[in-house]
Symmetry: C2
């Protein structure tokens, strides 16, 4: 019997997406960091959602409730940032076991509210239900000016690839929950440079490069020596595979590459590779100069 | 130790809502069927979400997957209908055990897609994650013309109370999942009559009357003899207490009461009571003429 495990997350989404026929108001549907829909006025609306499940995405014993709340909202803001947009409103569905201490819920919401305030988002509604474990799903609505919209599908042959921050070791360092979504950085970027494509790094650089390659139908090559490795990651391998970085991966034309700032506030920006040609594939150039295929074995959801 | 069970759902929401300070773009935040936010153009945006959890809201053995998918979207559409609006876009977060058969997911999405098509909604995105049981959270975005917006807080003293459909026995009859959200009915209604307040019936008429009373700060009285009882409910008691009716409860001024149609398409509309005065409270007038307090003991989430 075929199960969700045999399909994997990418297979599952590929199977489900065609069944949901889009309307004419939908400019970008399933498959990017957020959906883009037409609304009155000059801006587009962005919509995204992310679900966190106790025992899968966090453990109550190891992650303080404030950071569960923070993360639930921050991962959604990261999706909006990756589209070149700004978040506006969010709704929160919360599943809780009946014996959950009120103090736990208070702290969860304190983290959620702090993240909302810091990045100017209003929590406008939600749903609270009984559940066997803590489940938290946030849906976010943002907006973007059409000229700032950055999809995954926009990489062109010759484009240079950049990442913000340093990658890997996110679970070890606690950054996977405590990270600051790159909203200000993305906003500065799309105003200063013509960004061809952008996505946030959630499944691990290797896996996310494959997603970018597939969406843009261009082959990508990254230089091992250039990948910025977080202190907690230690090795380039972890920087490629660990996931939950919530940094930005983006592409700009070669002539614009030198206009990309090397820092955005306190956040480093690093050129890591290039779009080498048509087709789908990702390669890694080792320090030795040898180039070999990179497999998308980042985090698997199933 | 105080737990979520001791607070209950109403207590929990009352505790959490003040922590989430709204922005100026938020016209109606937490506490109604959907949030109302300002957007460019003449219409307001509506946002709502609802979470379904296996073992709490449905069992895989008793509810076919098509109807789980249908229900997950339909309950959200019911919220939009209750605001006098029309749904536009939805995002779906889906938690699945890895050993879930692909056929189950296919059928779940078939139901979701059928509901989306039938009511003109586009599923624009989502999230798929691993979970110990099936979890489905849908967030919906709709729109409403300001003159059609129907909040819970608008009931005035003297208003007549109406419900659509017949109430109770929803779990027994399967209606809790297979229902048609009252979008067309609500739309016709707000165009024809000045509706002061509206909500959808999800926790049971008794409990929902209390919510309406609290939101509007008016006392409500319903006539037992007038409550339309569904065949599967058998008794007025079940019509008051069962929940998951997903019908509309609304209030109009006495002078407009006779302009309320007795049918909306195939759906009966019944006058069941009146807003008797200021203050919070709900009473039931028995067939004998005796009036006694009605307790809000509909479905408890915790």
């Amino acid at each position: 019997m075929r199960t969700v495990r045999t399909l994997g997350e990418v297979g599952l989404i590929a199977r489900l997406a065609p069944r949901l026929r889009p309307l004419s108001s939908v400019l970008v549907g399933i498959g990017d960091d957020a959906a883009v829909v037409r609304s009155p006025g000059p801006e587009r609306l962005l919509v995204a959602c992310d679900m966190l499940i106790e025992g899968v995405h966090f453990r109550r014993r190891t992650l303080p409730p404030e950071w569960i709340g923070w993360k639930a909202l921050a991962v959604n803001m990261s999706d909006i940032a990756a589209m070149g947009g700004q978040p506006s409103w969010a709704v929160v569905s919360l599943g809780l076991p009946p014996d959950t201490p009120v103090a736990f819920v208070d702290r969860l919401y304190a983290g959620l509210a702090r993240c909302a305030r810091r990045f100017g988002v209003a929590i406008v509604g939600g749903d609270t239900v009984r559940a066997p474990q803590v489940v938290m799903d946030v849906a976010i609505i943002g907006h973007v000016r059409p000229e700032h919209l950055t999809l995954r599908s926009g990489v062109r042959v010759g484009d240079r690839l950049f990442v913000t921050g340093r990658l890997g070791g996110s679970y070890r360092s606690g950054r996977h929950a405590r990270f600051l979504p790159r909203l200000a950085e993305a906003s500065t970027l799309v105003r200063r440079v013509r960004v061809h494509a952008m996505m946030d790094l959630s499944d691990g650089l290797a896996s996310d490069l494959w997603q970018l390659s597939r969406a843009s139908r261009v082959a990508l090559r990254v230089d091992a020596a250039r990948i910025p490795v977080a202190r907690a990651a230690k090795t380039v391998y972890h920087a490629l595979m660990d996931g939950e970085d919530f940094e930005l991966l983006f592409a700009v034309a070669p002539r614009d590459a030198r206009r990309v700032p090397r820092r955005l506030g306190a956040c480093p920006v690093t050129e890591i590779g290039v779009a080498t040609g048509r087709g789908i594939g990702v390669t890694l150039r080792e320090r030795s100069g040898r180039v070999h295929p990179l497999t998308p074995s980042g985090f698997r959801h199933f």
